[in-house]
Symmetry: C2
């Protein structure tokens, strides 16, 4: 049974301040908890319904993870999901290590993506298109926000990220790799021959790519528009751009 | 100033039952209200802040729309948005008329898309790719749901829709046009030569395309996967498929 202190601890992890203080975050729902238990993340506690525990005890036993049994009502009270009939895991955050694009990969650079749902969706898209590396400006939503983890549908276990000064990174660490940037007035991605590897910068939901970052973009790219919508959501645009990169490589 | 009856009427339109009963729906926020006033929708009432009204009185005057001035607090109390410092419009719904794909268009057929955010996003994507026709199963989310209208970012004014029995429609009205259907085991859309016009079926968020609809699909299509995510969100998949259709047509 959950103690008052455990409940307080789990609820504190809804907030970034306490996630940073404790070095841990929440993973919620059957699918995400199963995936995190199969990943290289270190899980410190699983709160699960009896049914979920019985089905997945092999996973928690393997990781020697502490398990507390709770009711559905408890899971929904201590977690952030409106509906959770399975489990919540408390998982250790990872060290914020510098990363660069791998050979054969277009790493994503996120310049001030504010919406947690968008960030989670972008992790899922990266995972679909075989992108493992996501570099985030300090102002980008916190990847450990429960909404990001939830929207990523388990893909957070297969993608790695770094938060830091992306302007400095672009100035010091990327040359001679191409830096693609999504703009409304760049080269048509239906005809652009993409390089096999490099970086793709996606900008803020309202303001796009910032001036400081734009100076490091070596190739402006655009999704051609055939109708009248003013723009595409940043998650949608990321998917279409990565799809065109993969398609152009044959 | 808003009367109690007006407030009650507007709040009732949060619910589908009352939208159907009154034949009206809500459009909220500066951008969407401006777009609806410029469209062929008939607006019966605009509730606006003094500032929004002063900036847009030309639009409401043109349509001879009744205007009530309200505070930001009022707008947020009677509407569905957490934040709205501009306006809410009460707009007449349109007649549910049968539609078919236009020449040069891949009309969308939505088979049980349940999430209002997904439906709104799909309208926006259709509008970006120049698709004007969206056919919805009766079980698809209500297009007049405020969340759909809001997520469509004004695109609901440029796309037309029909709700009805899509199985019957597919059986009677589409031949010989191709019916593309999104599956996880179809032909790779990176190499498929799409026809200039026809239909594209997108299925339910969890279960995909239903068996009854599947029987009318003439070409199964698939977005190739390069990584490990199990699936893509239905809005994302719609965008990538339409982008490949446009790209394959050159």
């Amino acid at each position: 049974m959950l103690s008052k202190n455990q409940i307080k601890y789990i609820q504190s992890l809804h907030q970034k301040k306490f996630r940073q203080q404790h070095g841990s975050f929440l993973v919620e729902g059957a699918k995400s908890v199963e995936e995190v238990l199969l990943s290289d993340f270190e899980t410190e506690l699983v709160v699960a319904t009896d049914a979920f525990y019985k089905e997945n005890s092999r996973l928690t036993d393997n990781q020697r993870t502490r398990v507390e049994i709770a009711s559905v009502a408890d899971l929904e009270r201590i977690g952030t999901l409106n509906s959770n009939n399975a489990a919540i895991a408390v998982v250790r955050t990872k060290e914020n290590r510098p990363l660069v694009a791998e050979p054969g990969e277009i790493a994503l650079i996120l310049d001030d993506i504010r919406d947690p749902g968008n960030l989670g969706t972008i992790l899922r898209i990266a995972d679909w298109y075989g992108i493992r590396t996501v570099l985030c400006s300090e102002t980008t939503a916190d990847v450990y926000n429960p909404k990001v983890i939830s929207a990523s549908k388990g893909s957070f276990t297969r993608v790695r990220w770094w938060y830091g000064d992306i302007v400095q990174f672009l100035g010091e660490s990327v040359s001679p790799a191409p830096v693609y940037g999504a703009f409304l007035n760049g080269t048509d991605v239906h005809t652009l021959p993409f390089e096999p590897s490099g970086y793709l910068v996606m900008g803020n939901e309202s303001n796009g790519i910032s001036t400081a970052v734009e100076q490091h973009v070596t190739q402006r790219v655009t999704i051609p528009r055939y109708g009248d919508a003013e723009s595409l959501n940043v998650g949608i645009a990321t998917a279409v751009l990565l799809d065109n990169w993969r398609r152009s490589r044959g």
